[in-house]
């Protein structure tokens, strides 16, 4: 009789892990790859990445993948191409998703190859041809204009794709699927627990100096944190504060391999395990995370910044034009606030200069360079 109790009511608990969607953001910044070409040329990096994608698809029968290139001047889809009809394996089932708005469908004819598993061949073909297209359309002027990459836009693309796939996966009445609005409404009521899709984002980054995209990237991070989507970072070159924070905030993996040529092994061991497998594995983490923020005015990483009391924007200098916050336009009397601090100092008697500066600061701008020069460090 013991066998009949509430605990084994779930007779059909799904043993199989839920399907997992891996969105890969590949940094294709030509400047950075040119730097790496001696150890890891872009072509072999992509070859390794394709093997990794195949391994991911093989790890679960319903696993999906999305690949986005974050290029110098735009973020571009490598797979799936933004037309739901072109690829049978891409799962855009609805009739009016936002993915199929542009362009005429160009059916890529994948040659039948008896030596290759067909789903692998389809994805490989799509990624390679789209990547070639992206490189062909890149003009010299695009390269000259910026040395960095649009990782913020690519992250947003990845997150919106994940959100859409999650909706499509949630178990809803098949009668309702021809109306995406009802599916939307349903997902609110049914709650995320029943969605069987687990997703994660992998950013393969080679460019440094991403501080100028601080705001879009941070917004993407917070969105991912809210939806519990881990962002994994594989940092092949350069170092950015930002991406480290991304995986720290979302519970992803941060890896900065010392030998980039071993890319495939890093991918296979560190980034292949999905959320189900990670529960039983010891995963590498960022260790000490640099939590510094970038200022909103010059996009510089700052140790100490000035925060707008209304909208929480960060500035590296209290010397704002007209004392108005650049983001929300509130009046901030930063200069006056700063005079108050030096007023405490004179007791020490040593720092007479400060006192002079303090009295001077009635004229805004006069002493601000000294004031913003991080007094703590002296």
């Amino acid at each position: 009789m013991n066998a009949i109790d509430g605990t084994d009511r779930h007779i059909k608990t799904d043993e199989a892990p839920p399907p997992s969607l891996l969105a890969i953001v590949l940094d294709t910044n030509p400047h950075a790859w040119a730097h790496l070409s001696s150890t890891l040329p872009l072509s072999s990096a992509i070859a390794n990445l394709l093997v990794f994608i195949n391994a991911h698809l093989a790890s679960g029968n319903a696993n999906e993948v999305a690949v986005i290139a974050s290029h110098t001047h735009r973020a571009a889809w490598l797979y799936p191409i933004p037309q739901s009809t072109t690829l049978p394996t891409s799962q855009n089932g609805t009739s009016n998703g936002d993915m199929e708005t542009n362009g005429a469908p160009t059916e890529p004819s994948v040659p039948e190859n008896p030596n290759k598993y067909r789903p692998f061949a389809i994805i490989e073909k799509a990624i390679l041809s789209n990547f070639a297209k992206l490189l062909d359309t890149t003009k010299e002027s695009d390269l000259a204009s910026t040395p960095t990459t649009l990782v913020g836009g690519a992250l947003s693309l990845a997150l919106s794709y994940i959100a859409k796939s999650t909706l499509l996966h949630s178990p809803v009445d098949p009668l309702a699927t021809d109306n995406p609005l009802s599916a939307l409404a349903d997902s609110e009521t049914m709650h995320a627990q029943r969605t069987p899709l687990t997703s994660r984002v992998l950013v393969i980054s080679v460019s440094g100096d991403l501080a100028n995209q601080y705001i879009p990237v941070m917004n993407a991070i917070f969105a991912a944190q809210r939806r519990r989507i881990p962002i994994d970072i594989l940092k092949l070159a350069g170092d950015t504060v930002l991406l480290q924070q991304a995986c720290d905030a979302t519970g992803g993996i941060y890896m900065k391999p010392e030998r980039p040529e071993g890319l495939l092994q890093y991918l296979m061991m560190g980034f292949l395990p999905d959320a189900t497998a990670r529960r039983s594995l010891v995963m590498p983490s960022a260790g000490g995370v640099d939590f510094r923020a970038a200022c909103f005015c010059h996009r510089k990483v700052v140790d100490i910044g000035y925060v707008c009391s209304v909208c929480l924007s960060i500035f590296c200098t209290p010397n704002l034009p007209d004392n108005l916050c650049l983001t929300c336009g509130s009046y901030l009397s930063l200069a006056q606030a700063q005079t108050a601090t030096p007023a405490v100092i004179p007791r020490q008697r040593k720092k007479k200069k400060k006192r002079v500066g303090g009295t001077d600061s009635a004229t805004p701008g006069g002493s601000t360079p000294a004031g913003s020069g991080t007094p703590v460090h002296t």
Partner: protein
Amino acid sequence: MSASSSQALEYLELLPGSVHKKLYDQPSTALAIFRCMLPHLAKTIVMAMLYMTGPFPANDLDAWFRSDAKREKDKAISVLERLHIIMLRQETSNQISYQLTKRFAQSLRQALTGGGTHRSFGVPSNQPDAKRVDKAFLDEYARKQWENILFYMVGSTVGLADSNALGRDVGEGTKALLKAGDFVRIAHGRVHITRTGFEFVLQEVNAQVWSLLIVYLKHASQLNMSETDVLSFLFMLGSLELGQDYTTTTLSPTQLQMLEDLSAFGIVYRSSKEASTFYPTRLATTLTSDSVSLSTSEPITNSLSSAGHRAGKGYIIIETNYRLYAYTSSLLQIAVLSLFTKLTTRFPNLVSGKLTKESITRAVRLGISSSQILSYLSAHAHPQMQKNSPVLPPTVMDQIRLWEYEGERVETHNGFLMKDFGSESEFRELLEYAESLGVLVWKNEEKRVFFVDRVEQISLYLNNKKRTQDR
């Protein structure tokens, strides 16, 4: 890993190592086994080791896993060892390391990179076929063939039609196979379904296909077919593309013979017996993907899952008062339901009835277990029911079980009794090991005995221990 592939896994595990080695020569087989047979963590381990230059020291592997996941790790490793995918290597006296079997690693790498000239993923026909058929036709064909088989098994028990008419559409070979697999018994010219037959009928389609194929495999040697040839052909079928025609010219005689049998099951389609091409149906292409992918990716497949012409998968609604409504007009589904339901009314698109104590105990007497009934009901539950968690009303689930337990008080397991331990610590150690492997069935700590359903790994463990003690 779904229920359907676990059957196939059990069968695979029992094969000797030499057969495994031969199987792994084909990249398609290596990939198929990796994709659908291995538990999730085992896949992770294999992938981590696949491009490793040297063997993987056991200590490092332990360090990679969290301490509370030791059980899962041992399970994954034991499956991999049983399938001869990884080997233990004794480096020095106290250092052990794991290594992937060479052939498996090589084949899997080839499958991932798409290199080589093995042509194991099916050679498409390059001649345009005048009598080309589309996917809808293939689905219809597969559904019809498979339903005929099921109907042949169920029909006479529920007395829907006379048994002579039932077997008309089922080939003699298939009938013989069903009999050989002990799914049906023929007595006095009538077909009687057996306990295993019920188990078969109540499974999902994918699991049914595998059960039948495993019976087929077991009898392959009697027909002078090599087991490896048959298995690797099946795994190849699983990696083919639906709606594509493939040429038969590259197949071995064994595989050509198989094609004939498989087209009788509805797993492949050939326009005629001499045709130089064949089409895999959905039954074939979903062999190596589990049912989860069936239900999520392609809604068309659901029409396959026993007869429902509607787009939706499930059709059964059960209320807490044991009333059952099934939106179906298929005779097969009604026949299956009537095995354990007291059906009262039938409308053009709906039958209704009630689960009663009599109907359940009658089913139990016929050899159907309560868990089979429950899994059938929840697998075919109406989309509205699927939204609930748990899918079926708990009262109904409990009551069905209680009705069954009224008659059955004894459970049997085949296995091995471990006894006569020298010391308490020795007993505890082995007991914990058995528990972590998941083979422990029963224990009595006072008498220092326990019972396991598998003994290979425990004996290996004991031998290893003995050797280290002797040293």
